[in-house]
Amino acid sequence: MSTAAYSSNTIVLLPDQATAKIPKKNYINAEHGLLSWLLTGDHKRIAMLYLISITFFFFIGGAFAGMIRLELLTPQPDLVSSDTYNKFFTMHGIIMVFLFLVPSVPATLGNFLMPIMLGAKDLAFPKINLLSWYLYVVGGVLILAALVLGGVDTGWTFTTPLSTHYLNTHVITAAMAIFVAGFSSIFTGLNFIVTIHRMRAPGMTWFRMPLFVWSHYAASILMVLGTPVLAITLVLVALERAFGIGVFDPTKGGDPLLFQHLFWFYSHPAVYIMILPGMGVISEVISTFSRKRVFGYTAVAFSSVAIALFGFFVWAHHMFIMGVSNYSALVFSLLTMLVAVPSAIKIFNWSFTLQKGSITFETPMLYAFGFMGLFTIGGLTGVFLGSLGMDIHLTETYFIVAHFHFVMVGGMLMAFLSGVHFWWPKMTGRMYPESLSKLAAVTTFIGFNLTFLPQFILGYLGMPRRYHAYPPEFQVLNVLSTAGATVLGIGYMLPLLYLGWSLKYGEIAGNNPWQATGLEWQIQSPPLTENFVEIPIVDYEAYDYEWLAKKQKEQVTTVG
């Protein structure tokens, strides 16, 4: 194992690290001018466009979260009026779910890395890829329009008949925004599936693909099959609102539960659309920083697919107390328990990837650890809610708020940041400041727990969600939560600052700063527009560190 030892000990000695400099020709300086970005077909540039727009909306959504926490600092409704407050949490929900979480990892990291990981020059349909970014932007603009015109206060779930007959805010605008944004994610998913099936380099068999690709594959299937149902549902809501017809209106013979069935048929799989890509990131990071093949590669790969499959069978667990027949509640609860298993499999496989590894603790790894911890809590509290009896008391309280924030923020956002830090050198060619980013990671972790752990207790005490004012005995916990939110906010601001800084002043990264095995690390960073000088022939398994060691030994000897 001397070779392995050599490679893993001597990062700095390696040629491309020692003489690292930003390559003269790369996708960033290939063309110049704003237009060359806005009309680009290059998946890497589109990924960058996405990264910027997503960050923009993330901070808008975050601002709303901040306002919500601020209002909840005191029991009285003193900061803003009830209507304003309702608009706040609605906007927070819509923006964070449809404009941040759904496209977050797939559209940025996925867009950037998928073709490279498969050894392709680009996604299958570059124009459609660009189109989906423009659709995203249109959706975002519509949301902002709804916001400027006076906001929406349906809650992100658009529950009928409230949204169709009892509100006078800009529901239709918001619905159309989500409709458009939905098609953006459909096209992204479609592009990924085709790329994975059709664009793999010679030798890149299904079981040589990085797990990042596998999880994106699963997520894409959900995007393609789930999103259109949401689209048509929102169209129906808009029509019913516009013409006052009653498909969802009980007084006219419609069934309001039909809306919820159709809505959650997408919106539950959507949860997996959001989390699966994050899981992919974690697989890459954990493996890289413990210099070890992911434990039980096939199990992890198939668990992604299993999640995608079961994901379609459990949506009604959002409606246990909403008047679905209790028999079907029984069925859905059982299936919900089944879908929890693949996640458990993943968690344990990641844990055992560490075993006998050679672990270092760079920032992405810290975020990854954060993900595993928080996602474990998020997942297990999901079992609380999946268990029928418990759900009666917990649903529609802060417990459920805490639960999905643990999965979405504690899970997905941690994964997103982990991924951004991990591939930042590849995307920009420069390193981020290590110590500062470690600080950010820790801050985020602490802030997050301080924000959302109290909400579990609040939930069990019975504090309902979406409450503008609350009984005074809940105040202490809310104060804690708000305090945590402040810390969390700082934790999210830091990366924005130092990553921006590193664009110019960060040290040169070189091709493979982490000594990772993925194809993306074998090419220059930032990559060429074509990604590869010539299409690679893949003759090694995924996460094959011996192969890497051998390759580098040769390099060193040739360079001398």
Binding site: P115, A120, K121, D122, L123, A124, F125, P126, I128, I186, L190, N191, I193, V194, H197, R198, M199, R200, A201, P202, G203, M204, T205, V224, L225, G226, T227, P228, V229, A231, I232, T233, V235, L236, L239, F243, G244, I245, G246, V247, K252, G253, G254, D255, L258, L262, E530, E534, I535, I537, V538, D539
Partner: protein, 263 residues
Amino acid sequence: MDNTIASTNALDAQPLMPHETAAHEHEEHGHVFVPQHRHHFETEEQQREAGSFGMWLFLLTEIMFFGGLFFAYLLYRNWYYPAFAVASNQLSVPLGGTNTAILITSGFFMALGVWAAEVRKRKMLVVTLIFTTLFGMAFIGIKYDEYHEKWEKHHIPGAQFDVSDFVNPAANGITDEQPLAPDMAQHTQIFFFLYFAMTGMHALHMIIGLCLLFWLTWRAYKGDFSSGYVAPIENFGLYWHFVDIIWLFLFPLLYLINRHPLH
């Protein structure tokens, strides 16, 4: 099944070939060059299959898109069968039937068009595309006529929807219908809403398709598809046939619920 044995030359850019041979073959004749061939595809074959697979995935989303509507229809039809039966009898079978025939014909010409493109007959292709367009437009025309009739009968859901035809058919010159109880009559509105939602969505797809057809016809006329590059025609064909299929289901579900006398 002639699709199982795949040829092993590099032209169909198989991801999973024995590596070395793959490598060499790539060197030899990796890049056949034709104008419409995008740089990031290894071969045109790969591009073609990618294209059609992409189109199929898109149709997949379309299935689910209409799926929501079809489910709503299924549910309310079972809940309010009498209303649905009577309301559907207000639709004209001759018009609907003609439209079905027209759409099938249009689809037939589309299929011929694909063939014409495959065998590189430029004139033939242009002609078939034009026929496809004409029949498509005829369909839309008849649909408009039907909608217009509904408008005059106040059968369009919303503010000015009027149930008198169903509460008291005889008075409105509808002789062959039993009157509905007022509460049930109200539910005809749900039928008509679903009718307009489903056929409307379908018509929308048709119109989009027609716009594309104009464009394709123009390109076909310029001879873009006479050199063996058939992907756009093929994929549009898939879309057009899918729209046909939707109608094949809409016709019996909406027009033929209960044409035999009620019991």
